[in-house]
Symmetry: C2
Subunit: 380 residues, 2 copies
Amino acid sequence: MPDHFQLLHKDSSCPARTGMVVTPNGKIQTPIFMPVGTNATVKAMRPEDLKDAGTQIILANTYHLYLRPGHHLVSQMGGLHRFMAWDRPILTDSGGFQVYSLTDLRKITEEGVKFRSHIDGSAHLLTPELSISIQESLGADIIMCFDECPPADADRSYVESSLAMTSRWATRCKAAHTRKDQLLFGIVQGGRFNDLRLRSLHELQKTGFDGYALGGLSVGEEKQVMHDVMEACGEQLPPEYPRYIMGIGTPEDLVEAVWRGYDMFDCVMPSRNARNGMLFTSTGRVNIKCKQYEADHEPIDPECGCYVCRNYSRAYLRHLFRSGEILASMLNTHHNISWYLKLMAKMREAISLDKFTLFRKDFYHQQKKTAEYFKEEQTL
Amino acid sequence: MPDHFQLLHKDSSCPARTGMVVTPNGKIQTPIFMPVGTNATVKAMRPEDLKDAGTQIILANTYHLYLRPGHHLVSQMGGLHRFMAWDRPILTDSGGFQVYSLTDLRKITEEGVKFRSHIDGSAHLLTPELSISIQESLGADIIMCFDECPPADADRSYVESSLAMTSRWATRCKAAHTRKDQLLFGIVQGGRFNDLRLRSLHELQKTGFDGYALGGLSVGEEKQVMHDVMEACGEQLPPEYPRYIMGIGTPEDLVEAVWRGYDMFDCVMPSRNARNGMLFTSTGRVNIKCKQYEADHEPIDPECGCYVCRNYSRAYLRHLFRSGEILASMLNTHHNISWYLKLMAKMREAISLDKFTLFRKDFYHQQKKTAEYFKEEQTL
């Protein structure tokens, strides 16, 4: 049994579970959502605001920090925690997902990925060893293996050879990892092919990591495919290690993933949608731009109770958004992150009472506007 | 003696003075600087941040709030204080300065000013009566007379007839003012002509106001002209009323105005410059973009002690600014407003010790980089 993870309770009605991840900068209650702080800041949120919103751990992007301000500078400034004045846990991704997103600017070989910076076009080679070295300089509590993330529509033969390389890269990452205070997680790839997912997991387990993540989900595949992969892997993942699904997701994705026994999640959705005026509530999404909120005295979500809901009306938030005010981004982000983290807290509570299956049913019942929202989202 | 203003102490070495303005939402220690909250928000600052920075009173813009979200809506939402969750004093300007700034979009007559909205081009007529009505709906603690603000290069005959109309408008404003819980200030115009300034003041005094402001300064005139007008009016302004110079200014402008016996000031400079990466320090301005701060562990101003200086390095602030992060605007604004308000507090302290003339000398000695900055500012 690893000593950095404690499984606290398993729901009797489903695979959902509560746990605790122990890191150098504090303990994390799982299931947990990690707000994304790409450039060493969760956009529009100070560390105090993140804490007020209930944030236990944030994610920062290796790719962005490598390019600007540079990992050597961050290290010289005392590491990422000190640089950004955040004294709770941080997880850094490997940079892999970002460089693959630069579709026209990168080339993948066994050695690593050659790419050009989105900032100044400069040429770089990111290897498993460099990714680990950067992540060690940044000094996050949890770091990730460098992996290849194939597109959702990649064919089986591509995915098969890709995951084989990802497995070899994972072994190189583990060999390169010298800072033993950091937890190193492996990333399961294999696209929509459950047998390849299990092969990937099996190979990672042979190398041995401090936690296991599913990569390459929420990249365009059908929800049913995502759920199938979650289930297939969920049955095989070693229960005594933390399980992380990268890059998800909607509140519904989080509920589905927790129901299937996953512990950690990250996504730009609550913060990015906030900046676009889309707010999460206990009865579904709200588009704060809408005329109907013009003279509305109510808080965004009367059941929420976060800093924003305690202090501001929908009418004021609508005014700020329409006026293009920075405070709109600040307050909307504060609410959405608070709301996501309250959702996670409610899920932990439900699991501890063996009521997660009931919670899931109630959640869908309450999120009445969701279907409606998914239509709206297209036009945002 | 009016009961809304107490003159606390007059410096023995110069006309500088400390005082207290009493308003429905609290007392204001003078001399004081008012951060500008144009659209019912001081850009990038929450009310809690403003309080943390030492803000006693903010200014909001009648023109902007009239157009969006509309004064009737603000009134329906319980007034400006409640709408924006700010429970300390607010001053609203009259809208006059903004409509005159719309050079190509407005026409001035005795009745008022016809203008077109900068937002949607819609046609409006702003009169002294409407300005007061809007300001009563907004519900600020201190409201301003609707005035005409001639350009700095206006000739004497234009200024003379303009100030005569401003005096008639001031009388109309006073007649229109029904909410006696609000203080109503008159605005002295007269451009660079000291005798016209005194004529304007004399006419306003005949009508009688709760405070007197100098308008039409810092509109392009030489600093010497600004100082001459301050001095000429300073000698004639009734000492038992608060004295406000609108729209200034630089830290140097504030020191010069306080030295000449003025009490209240507002300017977008600390907040706007913050968003452009220009920060105020005890040794002069800092351009946080500069390469020299790349790996600088120091706070912006080691002598400041504000929230930002206690928590963040110049290197981090430079990184945020270069990355275009919202947090850059938030932290830079927090620092600059804190710095301005600490400067005002130091001035009040110096006056209470009869040392303001010495303070002024020391201030210029410390602001070594100022001259250098004024050159840089051109190229921002």
